[in-house]
């Protein structure tokens, strides 16, 4: 079916298969339609229906609170066409830039699920065709037993790979994570789409890196640091990772963090920040390669980065209150300009 999109700039036309989401069909065709989460939460991909007919998809998508049905608005990430459609998007839409990998649908299979903490696991997925992505990007991941797809960041970097690793946190009443954590899901077939997201690292970046993560927001930072270490970014620039969790039992992948720190000694500093209880003396003794701090992750970042905000590119990911508090600190205290801050706003 044919989708014609009116935008604030040039119009676009692309094909959309039956049952395919309009957002995914557009992105797959290289049309830079607006989106952030791609999974029904943020409301960024809302569009206005003109001619045609759609199936609006996931009825409980949280992002529906942003759409005005009296204006015939809908979420492109959830909707599929029933016939040819003309829709309107209220933003400047451009073709995807050449340096961005064009996202596509890809089948996959869960290879291994490994618990990292009481509510976080690492999931390894083999995919049917090799994928190229930029460090910091994410995939939409769906399982046949669960409605809708969820967004998970790759927690590693490889130029092209047939295997993806995600870090997934169990969320209360989360359809996908309830399913994932309920039994051993190894061997289950998945439907994925991506890569997506603009909070990415490229080796030519001439900046010191500051990565600020809360909870499972560590995943994209692992990808960024993995790539930066591979290309020797820290031969020239400094790196600081601040990883915030509630308590000691919520910390994960310490060995990988230590390995990263060991690959760029003196240049890459990694700080684990506990918000609900002070780190024990034993923790710091057992892991001398890392720094441990107490408080909110944005507060720790401000303390340790004081006087070092020149020439920084800041990356952040985590739960919405953590992201907002960190954005506030980066703008108001660190005085970073918006172009020096990269994140994907999921809410």
């Amino acid at each position: 079916m044919k989708i014609s999109v009116r935008t604030r700039g040039a119009p676009f036309v692309f094909d959309c298969a039956e049952g395919e989401k309009i957002l995914q069909a557009g992105l797959r065709a290289g049309v830079g339609l607006p989106y952030e989460c791609g999974s029904g939460t943020c409301g960024t991909c809302k569009a206005e229906m003109g001619e045609g007919e759609i199936d609006e998809g996931w009825a409980e998508a949280p992002g529906r609170t942003y759409v005005k049905s009296e204006k015939s608005e809908f979420l492109m990430c959830q909707a599929s066409p029933r016939r040819d459609c003309t829709i309107g998007v209220r933003s400047k839409v451009e073709a995807l830039p050449h340096e961005v990998p064009v996202p596509d649908a890809v089948g996959g299979r869960i290879k291994k699920v490994e618990p990292l903490t009481h509510d976080v696991c690492q999931v390894e997925v083999s995919i049917d065709k090799p994928l190229s992505f930029n460090a910091g990007q994410f995939m939409l991941v769906g399982a046949p037993a669960v409605a809708g797809q969820r967004a998970y960041s790759m927690a590693h970097y490889a130029a092209t790979t047939g295997s993806l690793t995600f870090v997934i946190k169990q969320v209360p009443d989360g359809g996908f994570t309830d399913w994932l954590f309920a039994a051993d899901r190894s061997g289950t077939e998945l439907e994925l789409f991506g890569p997506l997201g603009v909070a990415t690292y490229a080796p030519a970046l001439p900046n010191n890196l500051v990565c600020i993560a809360g909870g499972s927001g560590l995943a994209p930072m692992l990808s960024i640091l993995d790539h930066a270490i591979q290309v020797g970014h820290f031969d020239t620039y400094t790196g600081d990772l601040f990883f915030g969790v509630r308590t000691e039992r919520d910390i994960y992948l310490l060995d990988q963090l230590k390995e990263f720190a060991g690959k760029a000694p003196e240049k890459l500093a990694i700080t684990v920040v506990l918000s609900d209880s002070p780190p024990t003396a034993g923790l710091a003794q057992a892991h001398p390669e890392l720094r441990f701090d107490e408080g909110f992750v944005h507060e720790s970042t401000m303390r340790h980065m004081a006087g070092r905000w020149e020439n920084v590119m800041a990356y952040l990911a985590g739960p919405p209150p953590m992201v907002d508090a960190t954005l506030r600190a980066l703008v108001m205290e660190a005085k970073l300009t918006p172009t020096a801050i990269r994140y994907d706003k999921f809410s």
Partner: protein, 109 residues
Amino acid sequence: MSWQQVCTTGDVDEDELEEFEVGEITVLVANAGGEFFAYPPFCPHQETPLSLGMIDGDTLTCIKHLWQWNLKTGEMRDIAECPLLLYDVKVEDGAVLVNLAKELKYDYQ
């Protein structure tokens, strides 16, 4: 309606933003270093409430995508793609008066 009292100067702390209802119209008032300005309540980008925004000197920043403006003129700064609309404001005897002859709206509304 034209000039309406929206709040008093004491209702908005320095370098803060507060929303007020005047009849059917919601107005966002900024106190920037003791000077008062008034806007529609949303970011011109995606209807994010600008009451969650940040004031630093004469720069207003929306928390969602960090669009920035000169808060005195509405002029775009950095990555913003649309200017900010401003109401005329005057302060008389501690009352913040805003000219609401016409409600200002962005084209997504």
